[in-house]
């Protein structure tokens, strides 16, 4: 097993130069998650307009290169996408890492994380940001969001 298959250059680049780190002042959607087995922490803030399009996406947290790079790539990927499209990215990423599908078409840079599938113990690091996203969207359907948007 080779480390190069997992820790691709682009992953380490996102880890060391995260693209969208920070908090939003008035996020439409927000969710915090923490991975109790390893201590990784992540908060995801989203600004979503009336049409349900993600206008801004930022994250804050601490964790390993996999979880932080995935968060950086995901926030990059969902900007300008509808919540539905963002959800498809999250789902298709999870499917790829859990080897339920090999469809990479929606993933863009996130595809670089595919090698994590070889380390089952690390899959939850890679999917932390997607789980935060799903939690944020869920809070919306439960009326917990602070705005009114169509998912």
């Amino acid at each position: 097993m080779s480390l190069d298959e997992v820790y691709r250059q682009v992953i380490m680049d996102h880890y060391q130069n995260p693209r969208h780190r920070g908090r939003l002042e008035e996020p439409t959607l927000s969710a915090g998650l923490h991975n109790p087995t390893c201590g990784d922490e992540l908060r995801l803030d989203l600004k979503v307009d009336e049409e349900g399009v993600v206008r801004d996406a930022v994250f804050e947290g601490q964790g390993c290169s996999i979880s932080m790079a995935a968060a950086s790539m995901f926030t990059d990927a969902v900007r300008g996408k509808s919540l539905g499209e963002a959800n498809r990215i999250a789902e298709s990423f999870k499917d790829l890492l859990m080897r339920r599908s090999s469809d990479r078409s929606a993933l863009g840079e996130l595809e670089a994380l595919e090698g994590v599938a070889k380390f089952p113990a690390r899959v939850k690091c890679a999917t932390l940001v997607m789980n935060a996203f799903e939690k944020a969207v869920q809070s919306l359907s439960e009326g917990g969001g602070s705005g009114h948007v169509q998912a």
Binding site: I11, T37, C38, E41, C64, C125
Partner: protein, 408 residues
């Protein structure tokens, strides 16, 4: 080195991992099992299996004998009497049992439990919950810079309201060892009891509960070469005798009517339901095995190896080692490599056949004090040798080079 490493006694250690020799350095999480333990469990199932304390037939008598012999073995392993040993699922259940049953008896408004921020969650949450449920306070002793609990710091917080002092003997993170006898003296001076989390000490050093002055002492079978799902609680006979059961059901009663029930003597009143008989047999076989090697020798072997390990990894630039600065007194060494998250490091070491733990080690409050969200931990046991340490160091150097290269 005082003993030759016992690698050959442990079948699993012959496993190849990712094409490498296996360097298992996570015994603080769980130990590997020697052939003697595997054989004892198998023999029990093949020759003596029946339910205990029930049947009148010969087989049931043999199973009961095996189970009670196991209690005898475990009690003598720590210098206790057999009736002072309650079999549990492990340290966590043992501590919960004391916190609930003894806690209910002694905790209330105006009283307090003293513990520390360095405790494993298993020795923190049961006491928090018990104290808060009864309106008692939880106090935390101030930690020394190396994460240890000094008798002086303990004396600062214990007072006449203290009912329980709950401390770990050996830390699963810092590699420090508490002065339990001194803690017992302080607790007893105020009429409090001392409850010791011995999950990381009973497997690794000679223990005599009387010499330590412990009133309760909890440990797990799986960390001392025994099976998972079995552990023990030592409780001073007079304390156990005054405590209420926690699990009600079969096996633990004397007489049951529709109006009420009376309980068996201790320790059986705390063992409601069919116990883990094979587990107890395996745990006793583990104690016999460890005793045959010699607990003093095991301790010396581990300390020597841990000193070697700490010294070797400190030679790698960028490595930070936590815990004692000088001589170590246990086999646990916690560290970080600058610029590489502990998880990434553990994955890299794994690809070289080296197993270390990464994370918060079930000690979130302590990790906050260390200002490290995550650390890597290597821990040794009687089957580890210098080759394991050298393999770790080589893998560490390789990991460092790798992450520096891809991080360009």
């Amino acid at each position: 080195m005082s003993i030759a490493a016992r690698r050959e006694d442990f079948p699993l250690l012959a496993t190849q991992m990712h094409g490498h020799r296996l360097a298992y350095l996570d015994s603080a999480a769980t130990s590997q099992k020697p052939r003697a333990v595997l054989d004892a469990v198998r023999r029990y199932y093949e020759e003596d299996n029946a339910n205990v304390h029930r049947g009148v037939y010969e087989l049931a008598a043999r199973a009961t004998q095996d189970y009670e012999d196991a209690r005898e073995t475990i009690s003598s392993f720590i210098g206790a009497a057999a009736e002072e040993i309650v079999f549990t699922r492990g340290t966590t259940e043992s501590i919960n049992l004391v916190a609930r049953s003894y806690g209910e008896k002694v905790l209330g408004p105006g009283t307090n439990v003293v513990t520390s921020a360095a405790e494993h969650h298993s020795n923190l949450l049961p006491w928090q919950q018990a104290a808060w449920a009864h309106g008692a306070e939880v106090r935390y002793v101030a930690l020394a810079p190396d994460g240890s609990v000094s008798p002086d710091a303990l004396a600062e917080v214990v007072d006449a309201g203290t009912r329980v002092v709950a401390l770990a003997h050996a830390s699963n993170v810092m590699g420090t060892v508490a002065d339990i006898s001194a803690a017992a003296e302080i607790a007893h001076a105020y009429g409090a009891v001392l409850a010791v989390d011995a999950a990381q000490s009973v497997p690794h050093r000679p223990i005599d509960v009387r010499a330590l002055g412990a009133d309760f002492l909890s440990f797990s079978g799986h960390k001392m070469c025994g099976p998972t799902g079995i552990g023990a609680l030592f409780g001073r006979a007079d304390l156990l005798a005054a405590m209420q059961p926690v699990y009600y059901g079969g096996e633990m009663i004397e007489e049951v009517t529709l109006q009420g029930a009376t309980w068996k003597e201790t320790p059986w009143r705390f063992e409601g339901g069919t116990p883990n008989i094979a587990g107890a047999v395996g745990m006793a076989a583990a104690a016999d095995y460890l005793r045959s090697v010699g607990m003093e020798a095991i301790h010396e072997h581990e300390v020597e190896l841990a000193n070697y390990l700490a010294q070797r990894i400190r030679e790698v630039p960028g490595v930070v080692v936590y815990g004692p600065k000088g001589q170590r007194d246990s086999g646990v060494v916690t560290f970080n490599l600058d610029g590489v998250h502990a998880h990434d490091l553990a994955t890299a070491l794994d690809t070289e056949g080296v197993c270390v733990r990464a994370g918060h080690h079930c000690c979130q409050p302590l990790m906050r004090q260390l200002q490290a969200s995550s650390t890597a931990r290597a821990s040794v046991y009687l089957y580890n040798d210098r080759e394991d340490v050298d393999q770790l160091v080589d893998a560490l150097v390789k990991a460092k080079e790798f992450f520096h290269r891809v991080a360009r």
